[in-house]
């Protein structure tokens, strides 16, 4: 579930408010959005992908809140990882993060030796 919105990273662009498919966030005039309905979070990580400031962190447990230590999250290197690996924003032209979805078919093919 969504656990953290880092206020000092947030640019108040409200992309998360728009993009969250289950309407977890509320926009706040003149402020950063709030995580208004954490229990509605479907743990889809889409807000992280749409946050250009890498200010959001979604935990791994989809059923229960698991409060996190912001300093530990920052140190973990997880902030913005999904957006970077997806090649979004400033990573769009980086050859290390080009979309390799086509390889899915090969992954399945190579697994056939284990069948």
């Amino acid at each position: 579930m969504i656990e953290l919105l880092l206020e000092d990273r947030c640019t108040q662009c409200n992309a998360c408010v728009a993009a969250c498919p289950t309407n977890v966030f509320d926009a706040v005039p003149g402020g950063v959005p709030t995580i208004a309905r954490q229990s509605d979070c479907q743990t889809c990580y889409m807000c992280e992908l749409y946050c250009p400031a890498d200010a959001l962190f979604v935990g791994s447990d989809c059923d229960h809140p698991e409060p996190v230590d912001p300093a530990a999250v920052i140190a973990s290197g997880q902030l913005g990882r999904i957006r970077r690996d997806s090649g979004w924003g400033e990573w769009a032209d980086d050859p290390r993060y080009q979309n390799q979805m086509w390889y899915m078919g090969e992954v399945f093919k190579r697994a056939r030796v284990f069948e």
């Binding site: 969250c20 498919p21 447990d61 989809c62 999904i82 979805m101 992954v107 284990f114």
Partner: protein, 523 residues
């Protein structure tokens, strides 16, 4: 209150909805798309890697592809429909190129069939917008509007961020609301609650194939992350952490479910070659973070796994379509994607992955196009009266304070339970139906949500109704066929080589093409 008129109204925000809006707009119609969430992130495509059935127009290759699927459709597929979706997908998917950067493989060839969900849905949104479609995000539909002659006249809903109701009159309405996963936690499925089935049924549409709703996908036990690819390299272990003896492919998930009924099941992905491990984040960027954030190395650690219910997402029941335009049996109402029955293209097994995506693209395109033609021929009809026809959750006989989320939890527990749904028997189905019937009576008589709360109330009503349809259909099919497994009727029976249609909400009527039955009383 927001009031609009539009030639075509598309309800839903996933890939089928977007392709429907594109299909209608390319036909010259004015199009409005309303979605519960956000077009781009809503639904199960956005979080996945939707491979499309993509076969070049080579007669031999296409015939072979169709023959392969027909052989595993358990007698319920139709080869001409398979051919239609292959052709439509091959023609249409590459038109997304201005908005989607299709992959180039190591051999330098462009690969069209395999796209990545978030980028695909982002591109579909951009293409939809470029064609002048009006998109209303966070604006769930709550009910349909109907003319006195029975034709659909539009819909009403609620804009949950703007805090106001909406009403839209349209000459044609496409339901692309997705399947129903019963709040199972399946990745991306929380908005897929069967709303379209309920709205269509209230208008008098029939459903088909609802018994084919028992597909499950493996995921880490704590997580939503139902991304199957990596599990091609899985080794599974029992509670004692010793490897389980499992069938290699067919029946493996069923065997895992059986093991999970006994105790915890663990997994590692240790068989995955090093180069694939390194490439995984740029194939599927969302797969590894849930592990890493829990301190798990999935290649070396044994982590607990679960099976997440797909309901009618990778199942294939849905609204019955009656012609090549994907029209329902209600005039002016069309169904596309997982909202529609996919039996014609995939039969009694899951169309998960490539067939379902080709279906969503194709049925969306056809439904949008046909709705546009209908609006052009008959007008929007906003000069004629229209009645709002939603009932359960909106207009109870006598409202009582009920917690919609608690109702969802009870229905969910019945609908997704392995023992009840994966290993079906008459006794277990009757027991679940007895509970669900009681729950439905309560919902129908007393549940009411107002304003934004109407959204959850309607989800609860749709989930309970869908669970009843699914189990009723399962009870009536007294055989095993494809994903529908009856422990008490383990064999396939040629007498049931027909699609099963359901109609009605309070009283559910079931009919096979030749066998007509009330619940539990098969002739």
């Amino acid at each position: 209150m927001l009031s609009l008129e539009t030639d075509v109204l598309v309800i839903g925000g996933g890939m089928a909805a977007a392709w429907a809006a594109i299909g209608a707009a390319r036909e010259g119609a004015s199009v409005t798309l309303v979605d519960k969430g956000y077009v781009g992130t809503s639904g199960v495509t956005a979080t996945a890697g939707p491979g499309h059935w993509f076969v070049p127009p080579d007669a031999e290759k296409r015939a072979a592809a169709i023959a392969q699927r027909e052989a595993i459709a358990f007698g319920l597929g139709e080869t001409d429909w398979m051919a239609r979706i292959i052709d439509q997908t091959y023609t249409t998917l590459p038109t997304l190129a201005p908005f989607y950067k299709f992959c180039v493989n190591d051999a330098g060839q462009t690969v069209y069939g395999a796209v990545r969900g978030p980028e695909y849905m982002r591109a579909l949104r951009q293409m939809t917008e470029s064609l002048g479609v009006r998109i209303l995000d966070h604006s769930p539909a709550l009910e349909l509007l109907r003319h006195a002659d029975g034709a659909v006249a539009g819909a009403q809903g609620y804009r949950r961020q703007a805090g106001e109701a909406w009403t839209i009159r349209a000459g044609g309405v496409v339901l692309a609301t997705g399947g129903c996963a019963f709040y199972s936690r399946l990745l991306g499925s929380q908005t897929n609650t069967g709303d379209g089935y309920l709205m269509a049924s209230e208008a008098g549409a029939e459903l088909s194939g609802m018994e084919f709703s028992s597909h499950y996908t493996i995921a880490p036990a704590f997580s939503t992350m139902a991304r199957g690819m990596s599990y091609a390299y899985a080794t599974y272990y029992g509670a004692d952490k010793k490897p389980l003896d499992l069938p290699k492919q067919t029946g493996r998930n069923r065997a895992l479910a059986r093991a999970m009924l006994e105790g915890p099941v663990y997994c590692d992905l240790g068989l995955m070659p090093q180069d694939i491990r390194e490439r995984l984040p740029t194939i599927s960027p969302n797969v590894l973070p849930p592990f890493e954030r829990r301190g798990i190395n999935p290649f070396t650690d044994k982590f607990p796994v679960t099976l997440l219910a797909e309901g009618t997402i990778r199942g294939m029941g849905g609204i019955k379509i009656i012609d090549q335009d994907c029209q329902t049996d209600v005039p002016g109402l069309y169904a596309a994607g997982d909202a529609a029955s996919r039996e014609r293209v995939t039969g009694a097994i899951s169309g998960g992955g490539s067939v379902n995506s080709a279906w969503a693209l194709s049925s969306g395109t056809w439904a949008g196009r046909a709705a546009a033609r209908r609006a052009r021929a008959q007008g929007i009809g906003s000069d004629r009266a229209a009645e709002a026809i939603g009932r359960a959750g909106l207009r109870p006989r006598r409202a009582a304070p009920l917690d919609a989320m608690e109702i969802i939890k009870v229905a969910r527990n019945e609908a997704i339970h392995y023992d009840r749904n994966y290993f079906r028997t008459e006794q277990k189905l009757n027991r679940s139906l007895s509970l669900l019937d009681g729950l439905w009576q309560t919902v129908n008589a007393s549940l009411q949500g107002e304003g934004v709360h109407a959204v959850r109330a309607r989800e609860a009503a749709a989930i309970v109704a869908t669970a009843r349809w699914s189990f009723t259909a399962a009870l009536n099919r007294r055989e095993s066929r494809g994903m529908h497994a009856r422990i008490d009727f383990p064999e396939q029976n040629a007498a049931y080589e027909h699609r099963q249609t359901l109609s009605g909400i309070d009283n559910i009527r079931s009919s096979f093409e030749q066998i007509v039955a009330e619940r539990g009383l098969v002739a």
